[in-house]
Amino acid sequence: MIAYAVLFAFVCLSLALALNLWRLLKGPSVGDRIVALDTMVINAIGLIIVIGIATVNDIFYEAALLLAMVGFIGTVAYCKFLLRGDIVE
């Protein structure tokens, strides 16, 4: 049963990533692209977690945790750059 749930989660998250990619390419504004990148990082974390369940491997959580932190910092850096023209003042 878990195998089918994992398969369903793979399909859903891949579809979500494709939709995010569409929004990232389409835009139209810079804010839309930032939202798309942020959501892509969140969906990628979910995908990594599901891969960890599918392969019964504990090592994927460190990757997911790192991606969570780096993704958030990236989003804030994009926003700060657009707001101030500088990241670290």
């Binding site: 979910g46 959580y61 989003t75």
Partner: protein, 140 residues
């Protein structure tokens, strides 16, 4: 398979399916909704909740099915639940700033511009850059 094992399997599968569905719905909302202020709703609420479901499901899987005792998925959930509102706030500020700068790509939502807080204060974004100043802020 024992009764308790079957129950745990059902719980894990349900959490995975629900979480993945919520993530998909959040991304679909980001594609479908008309302006940036509406598009922010999908990723910040639905996708974050979906990821929380997936993480709790993975925690149950590794605790009960594999016999280990892992809690560090909760760390990711906690971090995401803290940072999602902050990123949404920053992106909304970018949107207001771009609106104020007169960007053609940014459109005000159906609700219109947010109300100005009071006589002297304003939203914590910056004015459109003045042509002559070095750093155009609202400190005028």
């Amino acid at each position: 398979m024992s009764g308790a094992g079957l129950f745990v399997d059902i719980a894990i599968s349900a959490l995975l399916v629900l979480g993945a569905s919520f993530a998909l719905i959040g991304s679909w909302g980001m594609v479908r909704l008309p302006t940036l202020m509406e598009r922010l709703h999908g990723p910040t609420k639905a996708t974050t909740l979906g990821l929380g479901g997936i993480l709790v499901g993975s925690m149950l899987f590794f605790t009960f099915d594999q016999g280990g005792w892992t809690m560090h998925e909760l760390l990711i959930s906690l971090f995401l639940f803290i940072t999602a509102p902050i990123s949404a706030n920053m992106i909304a500020k970018v949107h207001l700033h771009q609106l104020r700068c007169g960007s053609k790509d940014d459109v005000a939502g159906p609700a219109g511009d947010p109300p100005v807080p009071s006589e002297t204060a304003n939203w914590a974004t910056y004015e459109a850059p003045h042509r002559d100043s070095v750093a155009a802020t609202s400190e005028t």
